[in-house]
Amino acid sequence: MKAVNTSLAIWTAVVMVFFYLPIAILVGFSFNTSRLNILWEGFTLEWYASIWRDAVLVRALENSLIVAAISTLLSVVLGTTGAWMLYRYRVPAVRLWQTLVFIPMIIPEVIMGVSLLILFVVIQLELGFATIIISHITFCFPFVMVAIEARLAGLDASLEEAAMDLGATPAVAFRKVLVPYLMPAIVSGALMSFTLSLDELIVTYFTASAGTRTLPLEIFGRVKKGLDPTLNAISTVFILATVSVVLISELLKRRSR
């Protein structure tokens, strides 16, 4: 048992090295004097200074974060209630609905982008944050649903019924019993949604307006001139910021206990 746990921990560490190897390169190149992100030349902090001059890039990062945060939140709500409802109630043609939910995952991004663009023209929805967020929710919520469904499989029905027997309304039972039970799946779904939304390029191109360009659009546009290390610098700052937020919040949680 002990040996198994140790080897699992070692394997996890190996996979983490795999995850962070390119990230280490990315961070390293943020200190590179060469403008082209290809060969190492020398050390500089210049690119960190240039983040503050690059208003367009910072604006794109802001847009990306706004879109990713709202899309994640709404995808989680839509996907969690959706998965629970389809699981708990006898819904007519449930298999059809489940298959339809599956479409955004299989549909090529360009088709999704073009067809949503045409839809927005038909329903006269002006391109902007709303249209990007709608599109992002559409390709994110199926991921949440799949994660929740996997967690629901094998759910002990007595759990919810016991709560109801104790006099809780279904809504309270959902909130007090089910949500905590589903929490790991909700967190997984949220992490996947956030990641997908933050890095999506093609659907976003078709549904964004001039003022709502996101970071991936901006970065892709820069490939031709060479991806300059400012992009690495901004990624590094973003990673550092997230890591510190996570660590600090964990520390606070532990202290409060």
Partner: protein, 346 residues
């Protein structure tokens, strides 16, 4: 009662006249610019806004067809677009562009004569050339020592696995056409049949297909020779002069990216003001500084630094044979299929 009605009528007329005046006095103070990513320097946009008070909403795309997709969907109205030559031609054919009123663009006198009246805009009515460039051969002269000046020189057995080319069926087919003495626009079912065996010989030798950043494979040393955009070659040359740019003697594709005004533009006046602004030599020079393509503005060319002028990828010496792409309609579908089939064979 009657009096009141007539009074109201007078008021209405007066109000509408006033409103009319107001809208005439205040044209919409913004333009929607839909252009290639990173092609319009922020400094140019800021300068224009500062001088005219017209705000520029810059939206970007990465290919002509990507631009067309969004343009024809009608989701957004644009005042200025920046298509390449064959796309301009297609748009003119479909009556999708407004003619430019040259009296409002006096700086158009700065446009070099070889960039006016090109086949895609034969009467020079619809477009203002922004930047021009070519597609040519780039050679790492440390690795490739022999003289390379034809397409066939690139696709030799000895360079197998050392070649990068643009991932663009139309470009690839145009090189094959060039190698049998045809122009890039001699696209017919017969000529396409003729290029098939050539492609079958060439494509297996290619190591990397990359339209976005072919310079990467060359800089990394993973390939030694390639057929790439002149802008990529110029960046490579600036990085290391060992990268030589050669325009094949059979002739090469010259692309001309131009500004044009879509037929449904809400603010064509503002669009023409922008055209005039970027045609000023001192502004045009800023664009050159940002992007190492050939500047079609002769007055701006005079003000370039010697390094800029001497970059052989931006300003190829001699008198190379260059030709733009024409709109080839349905034939593009055939070209696409041929190259897809050939790649799938390999």
């Amino acid at each position: 009662m009657k009096r009141i009605a007539s009074l109201a009528g007078v008021f209405l007329v007066a109000a509408s006249v006033l409103a009319g005046c107001q809208s005439a006095q205040e044209p919409p103070k913004e333009i929607n610019l839909f252009a290639w990513s990173e092609y319009v320097p922020q400094g140019v946009i800021d300068g224009f806004t500062k001088e005219t008070g017209i705000k520029v909403n810059y939206e970007a795309y990465a290919s002509n067809e990507e631009m067309l997709a969004k343009l024809v969907s009608g989701a957004q109205k644009y005042d200025l677009i920046q298509p390449s030559e064959y796309t301009i031609e297609a748009l003119i054919k479909e009556n999708q562009l407004l003619p430019v009123d040259w009296s409002k663009v006096p700086n158009s006198k700065n446009i070099g004569s070889q960039f006016k009246n090109l086949p895609h805009d034969p009467e020079h009515k619809y477009s203002v050339p922004w930047m021009a460039g070519s597609v040519g051969i780039v050679v790492n002269s440390e690795k490739v020592t022999e003289e390379i000046d034809e397409y066939d020189d690139v696709f030799q057995e000895k360079y197998s696995g050392r070649i990068v080319v643009l991932d663009d069926p139309r470009e690839i087919v145009s090189w094959a056409l060039g190698s049998i003495g045809k122009g890039p626009n001699d696209v017919t079912p017969e000529t396409l049949e003729q290029v098939k065996p050539i492609l079958a010989k060439w494509l297996p030798l290619v190591k990397v297909y990359d339209s976005d950043s072919p310079k990467t494979a060359l800089l990394n040393g993973d390939v030694d020779i390639g057929i790439v955009w002149s802008g990529e070659a110029a960046i490579l040359y600036n990085e290391n002069p060992k990268f030589k740019y050669v325009l094949p003697k059979e002739g090469a594709h010259q692309f001309v990216d131009s500004l044009a005004i879509p037929a449904n533009a809400p603010n064509p006046e503002g669009a023409m003001a922008f055209m005039d602004y970027i045609l000023r030599p001192e502004v045009s020079k800023l664009i050159s500084a940002d992007f190492p393509y050939t500047n079609p503005n002769v007055e701006a060319q005079k003000r370039l630094s010697p390094e800029e002028k001497n970059n052989p990828a931006s300003y190829p010496p001699g008198d190379p044979k260059l030709e733009g792409f024409r709109d080839i309609g349905e034939q593009a579908v055939q070209i696409d299929k041929i190259v897809t089939d050939m790649k799938a064979e390999g």
